[in-house]
């Protein structure tokens, strides 16, 4: 399955990247109507990141085993 690859690749750095993109693209002060992103651009970024985020729980196998 394609997502297996992402499971292997998941790292704290990727989690951090998702957090940065979430903030810089979705929050922060807007001082002009000329923020140059179209919604389509942002959606593309999120789509490519969703798989990475999806693998985060595998970073914590100890917690999963405990349950």
């Amino acid at each position: 399955m394609g997502t297996e690859e992402h499971v292997q690749l998941a790292s704290g750095r990727e989690v951090a990247l998702v957090e940065v993109l979430d903030r810089a693209l979705g929050a922060g002060v807007v001082i002009t109507g000329d923020v140059t992103l179209s919604l389509a651009d942002v959606d593309l970024v999120y789509l490519s990141l969703r798989l990475v985020v999806g693998s985060v729980p595998t970073l914590f196998p100890a917690a999963a085993d405990a349950s």
Partner: protein
């Protein structure tokens, strides 16, 4: 044309000399009656939300934060020229000064809560009957409520302010941001660990400290 990164207090926090803006541009500061902004000049610029470019924006904002309170601007903020930026600082002066006070000495922390995989197969409308799909969705909603009650609520008590995102990107069942005193980050993190250990069917990740993107405007804070 100019691209603006963040608003701070004068003197405009000097980013480290080796730090550059988008496209390697020199970082500049503009000061205006108690406010300052960090920006760079460009002949032409159409920043796309590529992770690499967003990280340049983020690094500049973090450099400003290292020397004082910062209000991060949304990625992609372009203005025609310096005068326009100065006008924005003038027009929104009171609001921006209040926001700088609100974030002073504080940082933003992020929380993402995920269901433990075994107990939470992702809803897959194609491979299930409608009833199974609805049940899976209901289970997901239940976990979101649990996360809000058992993780978010107690953590929010340690924060000056907090925001919960309306519809977290799957498979997260909850994402939230907290404005926390810089010297209470360790307390917050320890509390999150403690709560996480008590609710094993939910896995949470605390990230940060971040510049206060989610608390830089009044409606969100």
């Amino acid at each position: 044309m100019i691209y603006a990164y963040g608003i701070c207090e004068p003197p405009a926090a000097t980013p480290p000399p080796r730090l550059r803006g988008l496209g390697g541009a020199t970082l500049r500061g503009l000061e205006r009656a108690g406010l300052a902004a960090v920006y760079s000049r460009h002949r032409s610029l159409r920043p796309r939300p590529a992770p690499k470019l967003v990280l340049v924006h983020e690094r500049v904002v973090e450099a400003i934060m290292a020397s004082g309170p910062v209000l991060p601007l949304r990625f992609g903020t372009r203005l025609d020229h310096e005068e326009r930026l100065a006008a924005v600082l003038d027009e929104r002066r009171d609001e921006l000064l209040r926001a700088l006070e609100r974030v002073r000495g504080r940082v933003e922390l992020g929380l993402r809560v995920f269901p433990v995989r075994e107990s939470a197969p992702a809803p897959d409308p194609g491979a299930r009957t409608g009833r199974e799909y609805l049940l899976a969705r209901a289970a997901e909603q239940h976990r979101a409520d649990e996360a809000a009650h058992h993780l978010h609520a107690p953590l929010a008590e340690l924060a000056h302010a907090s925001v919960v995102r309306e519809r977290p990107p799957p498979p997260a069942v909850l994402t939230a941001a907290y404005l926390v005193e810089a010297d209470r980050v360790a307390d917050f993190s320890a509390r999150a660990d403690e709560l996480g250990a008590r609710h094993e069917h939910l896995q949470s990740v605390v990230t940060g400290p971040w510049p206060p993107y989610n608390f830089a405007t009044e409606e969100r804070a």
